[in-house]
């Protein structure tokens, strides 16, 4: 069965699917250069800019933890919880270049105890949940280790 499982993105267009160097996809204002995430079309959010277009742009892969937590109880649907539920961490990471804080799950196996405000993190991909045919993949934050630094 495992051979027939197809990897699909849990959300379309929010990250590149290059497993080794994944990046978040944001949107950038061509006039004032500000960045938004999640990516979207339409007007620039900067009140001093009247641009009505935003362009897709890849965001930097690295950042530092602004804050973090760990869910100890299964969130309600539409979250698809594993049974039995395994606690997992979430981190809000401030991207190095864009000055934007992005909330994401933390890679499996890393818990709140392992994290710290200011810790360097980088983007990876991980399976959120599975059904018989699909593995649903999303972006996750992972600590920058010596191997990945």
């Amino acid at each position: 069965m495992a051979e027939t499982v197809t990897q699909v993105s849990a959300v379309e267009g929010w990250f590149t699917t290059d497993a080794r160097e994944p990046r978040l996809i944001g949107a950038r204002c061509p006039r004032c250069t500000t960045i938004v995430f999640p990516p979207r079309d339409g007007a620039c959010p900067n009140p001093d800019c009247d641009s009505d277009t935003l362009e897709r742009t890849e965001l930097s892969r690295r950042g530092r933890i602004w804050s973090y937590t760990e869910n100890r109880y299964a969130p309600p649907p539409p979250y698809v919880a594993a049974d039995p539920f395994e606690p997992y961490a979430l981190a809000a990471v401030e991207l190095d270049d864009e000055g934007i804080v992005v909330l994401g799950r933390v890679v499996q196996g890393v818990h709140a105890l392992d994290l710290r405000v200011g810790m360097p993190m980088q983007l990876e991909l991980d399976t959120l949940h599975r059904d018989d045919e699909h593995a649903y993949v999303s972006y996750v934050w992972a600590p920058v280790t010596e191997a990945t630094a």
Partner: protein
């Protein structure tokens, strides 16, 4: 700002908070009748109803002003419905005040009530893959307590706060609310109770996080002239000195519920004051008072740790000093600036559209010396502070 822009609060009333499971309009009715009796006015005297919307009870919730007018019996009264999430009550007060100050009416009812669901707040049903609120649950399991936990953890790592500090907020508020007849939880809590409760979203435990409740609250507000005619004197009559309904300034650099990300500060510098800092600041400016003038504060303790954030946001202490202020006893009744003498959300749980109105009710009782068992002696000025989802600031200053 001169006192020309004040309105009087003639009456306040509540339906006790709980998990009653009845139609929210019933709670509103009880609260409205209590406020009318407190004001010594009849329903037919009311010229305007400002309802605070609830979005969780089906269609009537969206037309809150008319819903409550119908419940009290149609009189032809003019109405408005006000949505600002947790700040809806302040938004309704703002609307009533504006109607009075513009001369369109003399006396108005401000009202909010809610019936809350069990457990975590979750998005409305259906698969909505382009709705960020749906996606934050689906992709991240980012419940509301997740966001409260992010703020709490930041206090720990940046300022050295401890989970015991958080527990002490609960202990204080449970003591304050123990004799409040409108509070849902009236049991005194000790540090061990909090520390022994299960972790929900690390570092926050079950007893650090406010529950969701049913409840209703109402105010009768009027022009100063109407109050003088009705009461003969304005002595000791609480007045609304300021209402702040500010929104964030771009870029908003604090991660806010229910967002995936902050704004970017790459193209535009972050504003001088964070959104949460700007909320009470706008009210102070309007009322011409400062945090040093306050007798008490009612702040939105969605979590114990968030109450500590508010100490700094409303200017009671410098950033990073909230734990020290708490441990000094200054924010306990009897201290320099009691915070949440009502018991706060810790004792009430949250009944969203009623909560900001309930905060004002408590300030009124305190200023009149009617807060039995939890009285802040000699109270003359109180502030409320709260923040609603989607960028709704909320603060009112009430003084005598």
């Amino acid at each position: 700002m001169s006192r020309d822009h004040e309105v009087a609060i003639l009456g306040v009333g509540m339906h006790p908070w709980g998990k009653w499971g009845r139609d929210f309009t019933e709670y509103g009715l009880v609260a409205a009748r209590a406020a009318l009796a407190d004001a010594n006015l009849a329903w037919r005297d009311i010229q305007f109803v400002a309802g605070a919307d609830t979005i969780r009870n089906g269609y009537p919730g969206f037309i809150a002003g008319a819903t409550f007018a119908q419940k009290l019996g149609w009189t032809g009264v003019r109405v408005s419905s006000n949505y600002a999430a947790c700040a809806s009550g302040t938004s309704a007060l703002h609307q009533a005040r504006a109607q009075i100050l513009a001369g369109f009416c003399d006396v108005a009812l401000v009202i909010g009530a809610d019936t809350a669901p069990q457990g975590f707040f979750a998005p409305v049903g259906g698969e909505r893959r382009t709705d960020p609120d749906w996606l934050r649950f689906h992709l991240l399991g980012a419940t509301n307590p997740v966001y409260f936990a992010l703020y709490a953890r930041r206090r720990m790592d940046v300022y050295g706060a401890t989970t015991e500090d958080f527990a002490l907020v609960k202990v204080k508020n449970s003591r304050h609310g123990a004799s409040n007849p409108n509070a849902r939880y009236r049991k005194e809590t000790v540090v061990e109770d909090v520390m022994n409760s299960p972790v929900v979203a690390d570092p926050l435990r079950l007893l650090d996080i406010c529950a969701t409740s049913d409840g209703g609250a109402a105010l009768i507000v009027s022009s100063i002239d109407f109050a003088r005619r009705h009461l003969g004197s304005l002595d000791g009559v609480p007045r609304v000195a300021a209402v702040s309904t500010v929104t964030p300034r771009y870029p908003q650099t604090v991660l806010e519920l229910p967002d995936f990300a902050t704004d970017s500060n790459a193209a535009a510098a972050a504003p001088e004051h964070s959104f949460r800092d700007s909320i009470a600041r706008a009210a102070y400016e309007e009322a011409g008072v400062g945090p040093e003038d306050l007798s008490l504060a009612e702040v939105y303790d969605l979590s114990t740790a968030l109450e500590l954030d508010w100490y700094e946001n409303i200017g009671l202490c410098d950033q990073g000093d909230a734990e020290k202020l708490l441990r000094s006893g200054d924010t306990t009744i009897g201290g320099r600036i009691p915070v949440n003498p009502s018991g706060g959300l810790a004792c009430f749980g949250e009944a969203i559209p009623a909560q900001a109105i309930a905060q004002v009710c408590e300030v009124v009782w305190q200023l009149r010396g009617q807060a039995h068992g939890r009285q802040v002696e000699g109270a003359t000025v109180g502030v409320t502070a709260n923040q609603g989802l989607f960028g709704h600031g909320s603060s009112a200053i009430v003084s005598v």
